[in-house]
């Protein structure tokens, strides 16, 4: 699987990479909350919100196109909202920027608003995940209160995700090479059922073997984690700066009136 595109940058080193996972997670959650709290028509007020995700990406040396490309895997809902809003919302609006004014409809503003918010949200999430190894993210979540067993589950999902997807792709390729597209529906369906069923049986057997490996290394039901995250001054500073930045963006002077 092209897991490289997810993990690729997470193992890097930079100022951002070295920030505590908790600080980054809380910042991005706060950012997303503020982002969504903007009025539907307040498009130009979104401009300053560009700064955080771009800053994170730039300082982490992650190519901007990489983050933007993730946006292109469009959410159908966002697409629909963008395309349908101009149809439904025909209320005219006058937009002024300095002394420049033009007229548009509420629907177009909504479309722009949704598109921009979506892009920013995805960029922020990408910035978070490509500067934090998943295992650190899990530890951060554990320290923030997520139960250990649930975090462990996520760890296993992450670990075996790529392995199983590769297996599925191999099965699929085997099927495709054998001319499956030409088979009648019934046989095609049966093939899909057996491939997925086969994967399931394999997974059950694998989890049995993993359980044996776990108990062989002393596991008896208690989950112990390594404790490697340490909150430092840089993390506190980061959180304070982001909080101030979000306050300024949301309630700052560029909202006239």
């Amino acid at each position: 699987m092209h897991h490289s595109h997810i993990d690729r940058f997470a193992q890097g080193h930079s100022v951002v990479h070295h920030l505590d996972a908790r600080a980054k997670l809380l910042s991005v959650i706060g950012y997303t909350v503020v982002l969504i709290s903007f009025d539907r028509y307040a498009v130009s007020a979104l401009a300053p919100m560009l700064v955080l995700p771009l800053a994170m990406l730039w300082f982490a040396r992650i190519p901007t196109w990489f983050a933007v490309r993730r946006v292109l895997v469009l959410s159908p809902f966002v697409l629909v909202l963008c395309l349908a809003s101009p149809y439904y919302d025909r209320v005219p609006f006058e937009v002024t920027l300095g002394s420049w004014r033009f007229t548009t409809t509420g629907g177009w503003l909504t479309a722009a608003d949704v598109a921009i918010k979506f892009t920013l949200g995805v960029m922020a999430l990408t910035a978070l995940m490509s500067t934090t190894p998943f295992t650190q993210m899990l530890e951060g979540m554990r320290k923030l209160g997520v139960p250990k067993m649930l975090a462990a589950q996520l760890g296993f999902l992450y670990r075996y995700l790529f392995l199983l997807v590769d297996e599925a792709l191999r099965l699929k390729r085997g099927r495709d090479f054998r001319g499956a597209a030409l088979a009648p529906v019934g046989r095609r369906l049966k093939a899909v059922g057996s491939m997925i069923g086969h994967l399931f049986v394999h997974t059950l057997d694998r989890s049995d073997r993993v359980y044996t490996a776990m108990t062989a290394r002393g596991y008896r039901g208690e989950w112990h984690g390594l404790s490697r995250l340490r909150f430092r001054l840089a993390d506190v500073v980061f959180l304070v700066v982001v909080a101030a930045y979000l306050v300024v963006c949301r309630w700052g002077a560029f909202h006239a009136g």
Partner: protein, 240 residues
């Protein structure tokens, strides 16, 4: 508890028999001994019971007979104790590397043994270094090559400071370089080990003794030179 120093053998199996859950017989009255610094190869055709023998020693299968590891007789009560003294490297590293990062995988054992996180981390880093994977601590298993995964599997056991290593076909599927690296590592280890393998060259290089299993029974047990010189024996059991 007998004093460690007076116990000669790290491993003693007496009339060990194992039956699988579905009723098919696995091992039949297997007896063998492994000295504290012993290095023994376990040979035999596929299905002979080599993996079952190792799983049995690890306390993962129901058995009759005696299994004594480092002077401790394996029973339900002593399972955890025994698992602190011997470790098994599985045939398929993907079954054994189940944590999101290498460091966490290697630290899993020591943490379960009750070590503090800092202590566990230190032992893990040492173990990772001893198998030559230094620098890869943050990598997840899907980032590692086949040879690296094999080394990682070994590291997960080494960090537990066991006295006996059970290696199930460690050389399988490795390219020449990784294979040579593996042999180097094993040669330098102080622990006793039992290696299940088909590779006679590896046996000659690393092991002083050979035990041959076929259909769940021991059919030969002796010094490497002697056993491997018996061509008829090897042919009879599909080994050469």
């Amino acid at each position: 508890m007998p004093d460690d120093r007076t116990v000669e053998n790290i491993l003693e199996l007496n009339n060990l028999s194992v039956t699988y859950p579905d009723g098919t017989p696995g091992l039949h009255e297997v007896s063998l001994q492994l000295a504290r610094t012993g290095r023994t190869a376990l040979l035999g055709p596929n299905g002979a019971g080599k993996t079952s023998l190792m799983l049995g020693i690890m306390g993962a299968l129901k058995f009759t007979g005696d299994i004594v590891v480092d002077g401790i007789s394996l029973s339900r009560r002593t399972t955890t104790d025994v698992r602190s003294r011997c470790g098994m490297v599985f045939q398929n590293p993907d079954d054994q590397l189940f944590m999101p990062s290498l460091l966490e995988d290697v630290a899993f054992g020591p943490l379960n043994q009750g070590r503090s996180p800092d202590d566990a981390e230190k032992r893990s880093r040492d173990a990772i270094r001893s198998v030559g994977l230094e620098g890869l601590e943050q990598k997840a298993a899907h980032h590692l090559s086949g040879g690296q995964k094999r080394g990682a599997s070994l590291a997960t056991i080494l960090s537990m400071n066991v006295k006996l290593l059970l290696l199930d076909e460690p050389g399988a599927g490795l390219d020449h370089r990784s294979y040579a690296r593996l042999i180097e590592i094993l040669e330098s280890r102080p622990e006793a080990f039992l290696i299940s393998t088909h590779d006679l060259a590896l046996v000659r290089r690393l092991c002083r003794n050979v035990v041959v299993l076929d259909k769940g029974r021991v059919v030969a047990d002796g010094p490497t030179g002697t056993v491997l010189a018996d061509a008829a024996l090897l042919a009879r059991h599909g080994l050469a």
